[in-house]
Subunit: 200 residues, 2 copies
């Protein structure tokens, strides 16, 4: 579809670069913005620009941060002896929202996936090993997705950390809370049997 | 979900104001922008701000324009005696893309819909009547959606224009090109029978 306006064309092109947004959706969004108060478009535009300008990555855990070291790494209230390894920034938020974790994080920035051309060198694995070697860390919790890529990455990190002698744990795998046995897949059921724990 | 960063929180809040974008999608978009080059976020933010700042509405037809009078209204090549009445800016683009229309447009900015609190006073109907009264217009084509609101608006405009003596036409209604009779609804079929035209 051709647009009569260069400004509209520009906005649609940029909006259509967002994941899951095609040109039709982008046009709908652009026309929506035109119907709003001028302030709404300014606020959105500035929020996007400021986001990218203002946010950097924590030099310790690689989580997003507005400061050199993120608030979690800088906090005196967190247990500094435990490091939870997660795939990405969103996972940090998810674990924080459980309210169950008081340690620190380490954000890999992805999972090892040869198909997608992502090797260990593309991830923050070297910096994790260095962090453990620097001392003060007693336990590394591998909290990656229970997928092929997650398992591969778990195993690679486990091997890299073995020489440091640090305790390496991973998330329990089993029947999800609220799930019925009937609809749980066999691999998960088999794993939950192997990893069974004392009833308490 | 709580975010550790005020900038991220701001961007997610603003993105989530877009139609069809919830907070989860907004977070996905924001994290996507963080993964891109700095230029990508700047370009998107600026495109949005410039769009709203630079675009105004044509003083004649109320289509979006970067100038006082839009390129269509200003063009010497268009048939100035025919005015096509459409619901919104997007419809202008759709008709322009058919390549079948060489006249001018008049954008109402919506349809009469008492349920949504939209009356004739909220639409560019007075300015249409003035435009016709000013002379030079021989035909007004009502090109609104074939819905209850479209029909209501058609009828209202028709009555307002009756006194001016201008010819008022509306889009043909019938079986859509490519549609099978079997799957065409009865109202449309009935209408297409009533409005049948000589075979040529």
């Amino acid at each position: 579809m051709e647009f009569s306006s260069i400004l509209l064309e520009g906005a649609v092109t940029e909006l259509a670069r967002l994941p899951g947004v095609g040109r039709k959706t982008a046009l709908r969004l652009a026309l929506h913005l035109l119907r709003q108060d001028a302030g709404a478009a300014e606020a959105l535009g500035n929020a996007i620009i400021n986001l990218r300008r203002g946010i950097r990555y924590c030099s310790v855990c690689h989580n997003i941060s507005e400061t050199e070291v993120c608030p979690i790494c800088a906090s005196e209230l967190r247990d500094r002896s435990t490091v939870c390894v997660v795939e990405n920034v969103k996972d940090v938020m998810i674990f924080e929202n459980t309210g169950q974790y008081t340690g620190l994080y380490h954000v890999l920035g992805g999972l090892i996936s040869p198909v997608d051309g992502i090797g260990p060198g593309n991830l923050q694995i070297d910096s994790l090993v260095e962090r453990v070697r620097a001392g003060g860390v007693d336990e590394v919790i591998l909290a990656l997705s229970a997928t092929m890529e997650g398992d591969t990455t778990n195993f690679y990190i486990y091997r890299r950390l073995r020489e440091t002698g640090v305790r390496v744990t991973q998330l329990a795998r089993g029947v999800s809370v609220g799930n019925e046995i009937e609809y749980t897949d066999e691999v998960t059921l088999g794993r939950s049997l192997l990893d069974r724990v004392d009833y308490k």
